[in-house]
């Protein structure tokens, strides 16, 4: 297949955090950029997020979190991905992520961190550029 398929993205809100406007705005922007967005809604456990990502065979997981619990939830998500031998899904995060946490978050393997004020274009381009290209064409 010459042209690539639509990128599939899981947008999730981990933890006890009901503020989902940001996640919805992102979901909409990614849709308008031609991606297929699986939106999970609020209050997701890491287990739910990883299982959904596997079943939906997404290319990227975007997690939005504003509650401050990111250092409790992100490591768990990354660990579950590893346990399931998932190593080809791009993971990025957005929301209120203090600067001092960013190195630790990146060290987990979360490739992008987007705080308030990030433009939609920046996120769209980030997803497009960082999704593993071979995922879009490979065979099993």
């Amino acid at each position: 297949m010459a042209d690539t398929r639509p990128i599939r993205v899981l947008v999730a809100k981990p933890g006890l955090d009901g503020h989902d406007r940001g996640a919805k705005v992102i979901a909409r922007a990614l849709r308008d950029a031609g991606m297929e967005v699986i939106y999970t809604g609020i209050r997701q456990t890491p287990e739910m997020i990883v299982e959904a990502a596997i079943q939906e065979d997404v290319d990227a997981i975007l997690m939005s979190i504003l509650s401050g619990a990111h250092m409790a939830l992100f490591p768990k998500v990354m660990e579950l991905l590893k346990q399931n031998e998932v190593n080809d899904i791009l993971v990025a995060a957005g929301g209120i992520l203090p600067d001092e946490d960013l190195p630790a978050i990146k060290a987990l393997g979360i490739k992008g961190c987007f705080g308030p004020g990030t433009s939609m274009d920046e996120i769209i381009q980030f997803v497009r550029n960082n999704v593993q290209a071979d995922r879009l064409t490979t065979e099993v």
């Binding site: 639509p6 967005v37 939106y39 809604g41 739910m48 596997i54 064409t137």
Partner: protein
Amino acid sequence: MQRLLSGDRRALARMVTLIENEIPVARRYLAELHQYAGKAHIVGVTGAPGAGKSTLVTHLVRELRRREQKVSVVAVDPTSPFSGGAILGDRIRMMELSGDPNVFIRSMASRGNLGGLAASTRDVVRAMDAAGYNPIIIETVGTGQAEVEVMRIAQTVMVVAAPGMGDDIQAIKAGILEIADIFVVSKADKPGADQTMAELAMLLSLDPARRAHDKTQPYWRIPVLKTAALKDQGIPQVADALQQHYQYLIESGMLANRAQRQVRSEVQALVLHAVVNTLKAKTTEEEWQKLVDEITNKERDPYSVATELEERIGLNQ
């Protein structure tokens, strides 16, 4: 392939991606999967947007899990006709099912296919069937009157109607009303549910076959069921009705009958699809634009253009 047949959900997830994107190798895999599929009861759930399909499916899956069944769900949502993207939100209501290894849920974008499903939904169901899921529930996009495609795949079609939508019944009267094997009136805790039920029962009583059927033969009397999923009411009855309908299909020979009809339409669809792809491969975008301009300017007409293209791909010989 082996991993899929042994129930590995990641192998299944990858296979679905291949199928959905028409990666050439998928057809070969599907040909192989054909012999392993055919064991699952395939259930279609359709109804107007907001009728309560996802909620019903979620609770139904939970009930089927209580009955120790390994359930799979395909949930189809519409693709934006403008960007080609989609927001697939059926999972929101189904997230509580995530984490159960015996439930596999996959969201699909319709990708421009009309009829309430995606073009490859049938093939995806086949892969799930081969992977050992039974039943498989297909949730269509919110439908109006004409999206009856699900009947070409499902063995049992369930139509969901919510009360208080006024002319909702009117809307489903002609199209999807005719394809229902089971009616579910959802949100029964809301006012108007009994009236909706009465209206459906009345419409069904108009069916001449209902009176004229041969009493010695198995006959399926389309039930009208009432659910209030959020209060967990009526769901076991829906699960029972599904099972009874499947039993009826087997005993009456209708299962084989439907399968025959479906196989024919499937092969036709495959050929049609290949024709469209061949056509696309043999015409450039510039050429299309030129033809479209010529037709809109009345220099040419669509029929002679079609004849010319048909000849190009080897039809009309």
